[in-house]
Symmetry: C2
Subunit: 140 residues, 2 copies
């Protein structure tokens, strides 16, 4: 798994790390029970402070993506097993809120329901196609 930090990007570094790990999980480059590098190792590779990586890991743990027990490293959680009802509900809520916000802005900009759904289909196809491809061609 190779992460890349864009210092020109205005989004916080810990968020960039968090987003790319989520993307790696979605593409199944990271599978449940996979171990992530230590905060120091990853921080060294990325050229950032260990606290920045640590914050990204903590966020991912709070969101249910990672399991972290003491100093034994962080591993990828199995969402099917860790999914508590409230977490599933929270995730559904976040998805709905995000989609509504995007639809709202698209509408305010003069877009139509159909162009919004077309964009949603396009992105969904990309993401889930990559996910399917990753599970077969992955292994390096």
């Amino acid at each position: 798994m190779i992460l890349h930090i864009d210092q020109m990007d205005q989004t916080p570094v810990y968020q960039q790390i968090r987003d790319q790990i989520v993307a790696a999980i979605a593409r199944e480059e990271l599978l449940p029970a996979d171990r992530l590098p230590s905060v120091r190792t990853l921080a060294g590779d990325l050229g950032v402070n260990l606290h920045t990586v640590n914050k990204a890991y903590a966020v991912l743990r709070d969101e249910g993506y990672l399991l972290m027990r003491g100093r034994s490293g962080a591993i990828v959680a199995d969402f099917g097993q860790v999914a508590t009802p409230e977490r599933v509900a929270a995730n559904a809520e976040r998805l709905a809120t995000g989609l509504r916000q995007l639809a709202l802005e698209h509408c305010a900009q003069g877009g139509t329901e159909e162009t919004f759904l077309e964009a949603a289909r396009t992105q969904a196809r990309r993401v889930f196609a990559d996910s399917a491809a990753g599970s077969s061609s992955e292994g390096a």
Copy 2:
């Protein structure tokens, strides 16, 4: 147009103002050429500092939702007329990025393409239905 500030909400106040004005434009409660209250008036109504409202207006201007010329107040822009090619492209890019991010997270959480699109349809229906209804039943 009635705005409401939630001090318990962790999102910045200026962002809440910005989001609700965008929502009002989407629902067509605010129409092109409509005048917005002055920063002092709105700040007084909401009980916040005028700098906060001013920041929200500035963001909306930069995003193309508002026109602000000097001290003559802010008015709602007509996206059809103000839409420069680069702004249209930027808006499409923001929509695509947002949708891809949501799809990615849904995928990483074990969701499917179909459940994602179902959620998108649900939210789009709500937003665009409100928009259509707002243009006829608006006035309260």
